[in-house]
């Protein structure tokens, strides 16, 4: 890994000066910019870390969920008699037992806590049980008699989007929004974008006439699962005040709380959430899963209730990535300059809205990718069907769009006879460009440089073939399907753009409380936020920020809970920016308070001298010690709470999509090299090199981990990951048949980090978790196309696609 020096942009005025050796700042170790070790690292590697599924209370009961086997059915009746009679069963609840609001949801309260007389997807919770043992709960569930009237499911997203005769999944269409047009009942959100001639009302043929070359394509992205390893789980403990304390693995404690409290019929302060150990998230923990059910059972029985989904259940217990069908058309002049782009994107949201609206916002605003295109026409739809509900997953609508536009760029390069990197550089956005939604890019965006660097990387070694070759180095791996027969190498590139933080006028903020005091005579810092450590390393980053800002090495991050204000979601690559920003702001306030304390005591003698906190002391800028913290604080604790907001964003215009909807843009470039067994349709990714600009690397080691992980998740989408749904039923809800990459599928990565600071962001940082997930998929598929000459319009690519057989 290297940091760019020659291409570093001039330091922006808003970013604080960062010394070359971060250890010097405040004379503190493991501050910002270092590979500070994770406090949870050793525990996780040695298997000692307590995940939410490890929670235990001595008198607890086990909760279990009875789910609908049908994607669409009316419930004529539920008979609980036999289940309730079973010894060891403490409660069996249905929607009638929900004391408060019967529905919840992140964007729309359209999802019943328990099925409300109808089930709208396979696996929808119908009844819940609390029992003295998981096996008792299981037996009780088999004694619940549910009388279903099975209905035809709505399973075709395009039909849901465009056919006015398609039956509504939820009810009749809402009246059109002001200025909007009436649309089919199943459309959750329609978002157009219009620029240039399209905004002026020109027809497609008129615009086409300006182009020398036109390419069209239809692409599909399959339903990807987040495949976190820690299943949905938690422990709800009833409290003496009539409330409940919930320990749970989630991404956003406060949004869980705000959805739970109304359903439980309790004021928010009586629904207290504590973050339990999170075994991965990737968006799948944004929506509620077992939270309300465990709380209902605990409140009903007066006993702690633990719920843990098993693996198959987990596939039905959380939202997935929206499958997409996309129609793209691009026109360019003979020199490669883009003239126009049109795209129609249909995202299948499944049975409940979840975050579909926001996903449509991202997909539509990022639909063109990081390219300057004068005439754009985007039509993006998110729809209800009876398919599994879809919502947040790393990349959030931008992943789907990226597969479309990058496939098109390759197709266009081929039609023009240009190198795919050259075409991309010719049309690359940069600082000062405007997005298709009219937003100026007011931060560095060194896309052309990133592409050039990716192209210039030395090529990997040629494939080894012949007898005696280690099969793990060839497509097919240990199964030994080739010794080189049919193997062809291909190279492909991908680049993607992702908005960072919440967009479209959302009030996005984070809260941090920082306390500085003496512990055992030594200065120590406590950081308290509600931000969810989901494995990404946020606890470490909070420590690093506090060390750097306060010059104190001993920093403890308290367990996240709702006793402090919201930190927003661990989503949208936003927590280093937002909670990092909040901790920084709170530390600055603590620092000022310490300086005030010093001045109140008449220190230093020259009162207007600028002060710093360094090495556990208040010092002058020149380094003279004014006061040791150990003396200054004595038994005083300095505590400050601050709320940090990013700059405001604006909604997208409902007709033109125009508006400064986003906070920050982040990019990654991948070069993929693959060996393809063209006869068997099997692939080995030989190299997956990444170039990413991160503004400022707060923790280079953790950053590399994010880029590796994001790239691997994109590799999974390129080659194997798809929840297969037929007639609205899931066919592969297990890790036997939902395949995720192993270490033999994922090559060691070459990662090049660039640091062009964003003047608007804390430390100049740029959110980094999502961009690699966008670009690795199209890069790998482009490489397979290069090796095979096949069009490959579906992600993931299946062996059938490579050998040219139909996929049933």
């Amino acid at each position: 890994m290297t940091a760019s020096s020659e291409t570093r942009a001039p330091a922006a005025p808003a970013a604080p000066p960062v010394p070359a050796d971060p250890a010097e700042r405040g004379g503190v170790r493991h501050g910002v910019g270092t590979d500070a070790p994770r406090p949870d690292g050793v525990l996780k590697v040695t298997g000692e870390f307590a995940y939410s599924s490890d929670l235990w209370a001595d008198d607890m009961l086990w909760g279990a969920t009875l789910r609908s086997p049908h994607p669409h059915a009316r419930i004529r009746g539920i008979d609980l008699t036999e289940a309730v009679r079973l010894p060891g069963v403490y409660a069996v609840l249905t929607h009638e037992d929900v004391p408060g609001a019967k529905y919840y949801g992140l964007e729309r309260a359209d999802q019943p806590v328990l099925a409300d007389g109808k089930v709208r997807y396979q696996g929808e919770p119908v009844a819940i049980v609390a029992a003295d043992h998981p096996e008792t709960a299981r037996r009780a569930m088999m004694r619940i008699a549910v009388d279903y009237e099975v209905l035809e499911p709505v399973s075709d997203a395009r039909r849901a989007a465009f056919d006015p005769a398609c039956p509504p999944v939820h009810g009749p269409a809402a009246p059109p929004e002001p200025g909007g047009a009436a649309r089919p009942a199943n459309v959750v959100r329609y978002q157009p974008v219009r620029t240039g001639a399209f905004a002026a009302g020109a027809g497609l043929d008129e615009v086409r006439a300006q182009a020398d070359v036109i390419v069209t394509g239809e692409y599909q992205v399959g339903m990807q699962d987040q495949a976190f390893l820690g299943p949905e789980s938690g422990l709800a403990v009833p409290a003496a005040d009539g409330g409940v304390d919930l320990y749970v693995a989630t991404q956003w404690l406060h949004v869980d709380q705000s959805q739970l409290a109304p359903c439980l019929g309790l004021p928010p302060e009586k629904v207290r959430l504590n973050l339990a150990g999170v075994g991965g998230a990737f968006g799948a923990r944004e929506d509620l899963s077992m939270q309300a059910h465990a709380c209902l059972l605990a409140l009903r029985t007066g006993r702690p209730v633990k719920m843990v989904y098993h693996r198959e259940e987990s596939f039905f217990g959380h939202v997935h990535r929206h499958p997409a069908t996309m129609r793209y058309e691009h026109g360019a002049r003979a020199d490669g300059t883009l003239v126009f782009a049109t795209m129609e994107i249909v995202l299948d949201g499944g049975a409940y809205a979840s975050t579909t609206s926001a996903v449509v916002g991202v997909a539509s605003s990022m639909a063109v990718g990081p390219y300057e295109v004068p005439n754009v026409r985007v039509d993006a739809y998110g729809v209800y069907t009876n398919n599994p509900p879809c919502g947040a997953m790393r990349g959030f609508g931008a992943v789907q769009a990226c597969f479309g536009y990058e496939s098109q760029m390759d197709r266009l390069a081929e039609a023009l006879g240009m190198h795919p990197v050259e075409l991309r550089i010719r049309n690359a956005m940069s600082e000062g460009s405007r997005t298709a939604t009219g937003q100026p890019v007011d931060m560095p965006l060194p896309m052309a440089d990133m592409l050039a660097r990716a192209r210039a990387l030395p090529p990997p070694a040629e494939p080894e073939t012949g007898p005696g070759t280690d099969p793990r180095r060839l497509p097919g791996g240990v199964a030994g399907t080739t010794r080189g027969e049919g193997v062809v190498r291909g190279v492909g590139y991908g680049v993607g753009i992702k908005n960072i933080c919440y967009s479209e006028s959302f009030d996005d903020y984070s809260t941090a409380r920082v306390r500085l005091e003496l512990v055992g005579g030594e200065p120590a810092v406590q950081v308290h936020t509600a931000a969810a450590e989901v494995g990404q390393g946020l606890v470490t980053v909070q420590q690093q920020v506090a060390r750097t800002e306060l010059g104190v090495e001993r920093v403890v991050v308290r367990p996240a809970d709702t006793a402090v204000g919201s930190s927003g979601s661990s989503s949208a690559s936003r927590q280093s920016y937002m909670t990092g920003g909040a901790v920084k702001a709170a530390c600055e306030a603590v620092r000022e308070a310490v300086f005030r304390l010093a001045r109140e005591r008449g220190l230093p003698p020259g009162a207007d001298d600028a002060l710093e906190l360094r090495g556990g002391a208040v010092v002058t800028r020149l380094g003279a010690v004014v006061a040791e913290l150990a003396e200054l604080l004595a038994d005083t604790a300095v505590e400050e709470t601050r709320v940090f907001r990013h700059r405001p964003t604006r909604p997208m215009d409902p007709l033109t999509g125009q508006g400064d909807a986003h906070v920050q843009f982040a990019m990654c470039v991948h070069r993929a090299v693959v060996d393809v067994d063209t006869e068997l349709g099997l692939v080995r990714v030989v190299e997956l090199a990444a170039v990413q600009d991160v503004g400022r690397a707060l923790n280079p080691l953790q950053l590399a981990g994010q880029i590796h992980g994001g790239s691997a998740q994109g590799l999974g989408l390129a080659l194997m990951e798809e929840v297969q749904v037929r007639d609205a039923a899931v066919r592969n809800p297990s890790f036997t048949d939902y395949l995720i990459p192993t270490i033999l599928d994922m090559p060691p990565m070459r990662v090049e980090i660039l640091e062009h600071p964003d003047p608007h962001a804390p430390y100049g940082l740029r959110g980094a978790g999502e961009p690699p997930t966008l670009s690795s998929t199209p890069a790998i598929i482009a490489a397979i196309r290069a090796a095979t000459g096949r069009p490959l319009a579906h992600a993931p690519v299946r062996p059938e696609d490579i050998v040219g057989l139909p996929v049933p």
Binding site: G476, A479, L719, E800
Partner: protein, 298 residues
Amino acid sequence: MEFLRPADWDEALAMRAELPGARPLMGGTDVMVELNASGSEFGRPAELPEALIDLSGLPEPRGHGPDGGWLRLGAGVPYTRIVAELAARAPALAAAARTIGSPQIRNRGTVGGNLGAASPAGDAHPPLLATDAQVELASRGEVRRVPARDFYLAPRRTELRPDELIAAVLLPPAAGPQRFAKVGTRNAMVIAVCSFAIELRPALGEVGTGIGSAGPVPLRAHEAEDFLRAELADRWEARRPLPEAVERRFGELAARAARPIDDVRGSAAYRRHAVGVLARRTLRWAWEDYRKGADPCG
């Protein structure tokens, strides 16, 4: 459901005779997964056996050694040991064992379990078919040996009677080069989309084949075997490279022998195609092994 731990093999056979509904358990890599994935969250009744007979503590099924000119492989020898100890003696079976699951699964899983589960996708089946192995079935008072080619009756149904345990497999004397290859959509830890095994028996002028995961049961490619036997009849001695047309035709006939279906792991058409490719390639490799007279496991 009772969990029974017999003290020795005879007691295991007695339990099996008394409890025909009991399920024998060895490594548990199939049985336990099946029991745990009961589907109760959908209200489906669990299909639990009346008892489990845990054979994993018994020494008898865990050994291997010569039995006349044959190799007797205890039904409870885990795949890890087959890979480590039998690669030279049973190269196709060892190659298949190497492709199964993860190291942890290979430490527990056994050929006996593969035969007991009788999934058409089981990786041990094609090598057993290709090498004309036999399955030793024991009940109280009787031991019988069933050729692998007669063992598989239907998906998850075999010659095994309710009072019998799978004791061992018997592999004939090594007759010549063997090859195994399997298609999966990831490069390790994957269930077969399809697989193929071949054995050449120069001294007998014979060939054996096995097709996995491309039919209701593991299959032999009879027509392909007949074709190849005839083609090789006057080629054994000269040991010259095979004409590509022979390899190709062998692949076509093997593909024709497959009886695959469409499922989540792949389409029937792809499986048929891939069986043909695997047959063609494994024949080439096996013939190269024969020509060099080399260690066939290379």
